[in-house]
């Protein structure tokens, strides 16, 4: 082929390269205009929602502010499709999932919560790269001791309940190279320190290991325990409550029909946009006799609370009353435990983070006058180093 023909062909290629590039960078806007928005099973929160547009100065200012604060970067056309493709490439093709990602894809399609926020990495916690120091343990003991003593002055008992991290019960699906750095972990340290200080701590790890031995204790594609696992947790909590309430008898497993049905939307699978690939059945626990406890009206969530304050009541007024400071793990336990209390008030304060200790809600406790306060944490919030502002009681 001659030089002239080659030059002409190269020019055609240059035209095509330019067209392809301009076409490619116009695709997202075109998709927005034409409202092309394929369904992607991606679970994410919108931390920067755009206000409804109106031509007043404050709104226009707010819109410009939002645009400058990465709104366009999180809302361009087909973004969710691209996120999905990147996750497929990284997790499924290249097997590049790492503990510094929000979700660690383990062996046999087991997913683990990993980097929850900049300060909290669940996998590193499990590896125990940095154990709690004696000083940090002292601060935590002091916080829980103060809570216990404050309640004791009012004649109220106090029990701390810790739901294990999934990785504590199912460590064997973590890839082998993520080795444990120490033979103990921070949960061991905390439980030992609090027990030594005379604080009633319920470590649910043995109960969940028993659940695992008998069935599915945690979901493979979610960070939470199954109702089956929750039932074993309930039995352990109820057994430990017996020392305060001798009439409280845990229900046996035979009171329930354990089953499965398809359709679990695993939170961890959603976080990596693959809930259609990481599928799993919902575990069900159907009671074989009617429930006595009923949910009554709650109230709106207050400052530093996640969800409405929910209340369960039982007609038998002789049963004890309790306030439960909870997180998401209590959800599956409620149907079992509510049968044993005449009134059960659930409060969901924000979890411990790098700045705050989880709230204790003294006013609600004073209003409710419970027989016992149950302070439930999942392990990953229970074993955080105390924030510098840690105070013994909510101010």
């Amino acid at each position: 082929m001659g030089n002239t023909a080659n030059s002409r062909a190269s020019r055609i290629v240059a035209v095509m390269v330019s067209i392809v590039f301009i076409g490619a960078i116009l695709v997202p806007v075109t998709a927005n205009i034409l409202k092309i928005n394929p369904e992607v099973p991606l679970q994410e929160s919108d931390t920067n929602p755009m206000p409804s547009f109106s031509m007043d100065f404050p709104t226009v200012g707010q819109v410009i502010y939002k645009l400058r604060r990465n709104w366009l970067d999180r809302n361009f056309g087909l973004r969710r499709v691209l996120v999905r493709w990147e996750q497929l490439l990284d997790v499924r093709v290249l097997k590049a999932s790492m503990p510094w990602d929000p979700v660690l894809a383990g062996n046999d399609d087991w997913l683990y919560l990993a980097q929850e926020n900049p300060q909290l990495n669940v996998v590193n916690d499990w590896r125990v790269t940095v154990p709690l120091t004696p000083g940090q343990l002292d601060i935590w003991v002091n916080i829980f001791r103060t809570r216990r003593d404050w309640l004791a002055e009012k004649g109220i008992r106090y029990m701390v309940v810790v739901a294990p991290n999934k990785v504590s019960i199912y460590p064997d699906y973590i890839p082998k190279r993520f080795t444990k750095a120490r033979p103990f972990n921070k949960m061991d340290q905390m439980v030992q320190a609090l027990t030594s200080a005379g604080i009633d701590v319920v470590d649910l790890r043995p109960a969940l290991r028993e659940a695992r031995a008998n069935g599915t204790a945690f979901y493979r594609t979610d960070s939470h325990w199954t109702p089956f696992g929750a039932f074993f947790a309930y039995q352990e909590i109820a057994s430990r409550l017996q020392k305060y309430f001798p009439n409280l008898k845990p229900a046996p497993l035979s009171d329930y029909a354990v089953g499965e049905r398809p359709g679990l939307k695993g939170g961890l699978a959603g976080m990596i946009a693959m809930s259609d690939i990481y599928t799993e059945n919902v575990v069900t626990m159907e009671p074989l006799s009617p429930r006595k406890a009923r949910e009554t009206t709650g109230r709106e969530a207050g400052l530093n609370e996640f969800q409405p304050l929910s209340i369960y009541e039982n007609e038998d007024a002789s049963l004890p009353r309790t306030v439960v400071l909870r997180d998401s793990f209590v959800h599956e336990v409620i149907p079992f435990l509510a049968e044993h209390f005449s009134r059960m008030v659930f409060v969901w304060p924000f979890p411990t983070d790098a700045v705050h200790v989880r709230g204790f809600k003294p006013q609600i406790i004073l209003d409710e006058k419970p027989d016992i306060v149950i302070d439930e944490f999942v392990e990953r919030y229970f074993t955080q180093p105390p924030p510098p502002s840690a105070l013994p009681m909510e101010q």
């Binding site: 240059a14 390269v17 645009l67 973004r79 691209l82 990284d90 790269t129 993520f178 080795t179």
Partner: protein, 484 residues
């Protein structure tokens, strides 16, 4: 706004290209449009601090005329001195105030038992180091009578604020671009070349630098007492590749964008990691900065035409200031002095000996110096740098139980690592030269348009798609060089 963001790639760039090629019919309108776009680009991130750049442009427009007019009656030394003092003051106020005050407090005020000085946190406007150096280049070129001042405020503003080079360079000399401000053309071949340079740079930044940045960041976050030799070296290796692909990727994007709008910037990198010595490294690394220092500081100080001692002093001074330019901290100063020391050393018999040394030994020496230097550059402070260097020297206290290399590598990182190491060598220029030779010899379609199509219509779209996927998915996107 950064180039490797959806807001730039999918909104800003298409809109500016559309307005430039469809909506603007004359060069004057196109220049005005590019200037307006550049201010939007800057204000998008810096908001009210855009006024700092605007003041700098206005002042330097006037300084340029002042220096030029002063030449009629004098040497204009006073005028150029005051004009440069203004620019340096601007840089010092916004970039070094906190560093100066902190050191004054630490070494003077507090030991004397006085109340520490508190000036609050001074905001560092992005790119202030770059546009200040652009302005000084403009003034110096006028002072040296190498170019007349630009009589158009708009054209000068466009030179200083032109968005492809505004926030992270390259540092474009005024005399190199002056004629392009008043006349330029873009052919379709040139536009396509610009596209390919831009996409190549985007890929270098997003698909290589960002991937190795993650494990690098994790390793540099390992507590000092848990560092092991292997992990520390792995961290420095990652960072060595990250900073090169990040910054050279940005320069590629800037050069590519410039071509799309008809400008031609000089190259900023030339495979620095194949250097045989530190002198060569600085001829290949951040070329626009090293030549700026050479032409506006090193040569005026006497350059190589003085005694050995004076030349060494000049080198150390230049690299002290080079380190300080990169950031207001002792780590950057030490990094600069470290390089200055080796440049001085290479002027002794050691340099002559290294020049004749076995090639792998010379490369190993250069990379060792460069990588050790990067530890100062990357570390949060001198304590961390020291701990890191101790670990690299085998004196770390880590047991390997907490952190071992296997924790920082996966198949993706491994693939990228290989690509990065190979890409640090001039493999593509070798292939391009071979292809040109074959084309000249055979005239074959295969070595001509076919290869063009393969790169432009297969490789580039693939890189663009993979980059967009990574951009959509990732949040780790700050350019290292934005802080300078």
């Amino acid at each position: 706004m950064v180039f490797s963001s959806a807001s730039f790639l999918f909104y800003f760039l298409p809109l500016v290209l559309l307005l430039y090629y469809v909506g603007a019919s004359t060069l004057k309108i196109r220049n005005t449009l590019l200037l307006a776009a550049s201010f939007v680009f800057y204000a998008w991130g810096e908001g009210a601090y855009t006024i700092v750049m605007a003041i700098s442009i206005l002042a330097n427009f006037w300084f340029g005329l002042w220096v030029h007019n002063a030449h009629r009656t004098s040497s204009a030394k006073l005028q150029i001195g005051l004009a440069i003092a203004f620019n340096i003051t601007l840089l010092v106020v916004f970039k070094y105030t906190n560093f100066i005050v902190d050191n004054l407090n630490h070494f003077g005020v507090i030991p004397l038992g006085l109340q520490p000085i508190d000036v609050g946190k001074v905001h560092l406007p992005i790119g202030v180091s770059f546009f200040t150096f652009h302005c000084i280049s403009y003034l110096m070129d006028i002072y040296r009578r190498q170019t007349p001042p630009n009589a158009s405020l708009g054209q000068l503003a466009l030179y200083i604020a032109l968005f492809p080079q505004l926030v992270a360079g390259p540092i474009v000399r005024y005399k190199d671009i002056a004629s392009q401000l008043s006349g330029r053309t873009v052919t379709v071949e040139r536009f396509a070349y610009g596209v390919q340079r831009f996409v190549t740079g985007l890929g270098k930044k997003v698909l290589i630098a960002n991937v190795v940045a993650l494990p690098a960041d994790k390793i540099f976050a390992v507590p000092a007492d848990q560092l092991t030799t292997s992990v520390a070296w792995l961290g420095v290796l990652y960072y060595t590749l990250q900073i090169y692909f990040d910054f050279s990727g940005y320069s590629d994007m800037a050069i590519g964008l410039a071509h799309m709008f008809g400008f031609k910037f000089l190259e900023n990198f030339n495979y620095p990691y194949i250097s045989r010595n530190i002198r060569e490294f600085w001829r290949r690394w951040h070329i626009s900065l090293s030549t700026w220092y050479r032409d506006y500081l090193y040569i005026p100080l006497g350059g190589n035409r003085c005694s050995n001692a004076r030349v060494t002093f000049n080198l150390v001074l230049v690299f002290f200031l080079c380190g300080l330019w990169h950031g207001a901290s002792w780590s950057f100063i030490i990094w600069g002095l470290f390089h200055g020391f080796f440049l001085g050393l290479e002027r002794t018999r050691f340099g002559a000996w290294m020049d004749k040394a076995w090639s792998p030994l010379a490369h190993a020496y250069t990379m060792l110096v460069v990588m050790v230097g990067w530890v100062f550059f990357r570390a949060e402070n001198l304590d961390q740098a020291t701990a890191f260097l101790k670990a690299m020297a085998g004196l770390g206290t880590g047991t390997g139980m907490e952190w071992h290399p296997g924790l920082f590598i996966n198949p993706k990182v491994a693939i990228v690592l290989v690509l990065a190491v190979v890409g640090s060598a001039p493999v593509i220029p070798w292939l391009a030269a071979w292809r040109t030779r074959m084309l000249e010899r055979t005239g074959s379609f295969f070595y001509g348009p076919f290869v063009d199509a393969l790169t432009g219509l297969v490789a580039m779209p693939s890189i663009l798609l993979l980059s967009c996927m990574a951009l959509a998915s990732g949040t780790h996107n700050p350019f290292i060089y934005f802080q300078f």
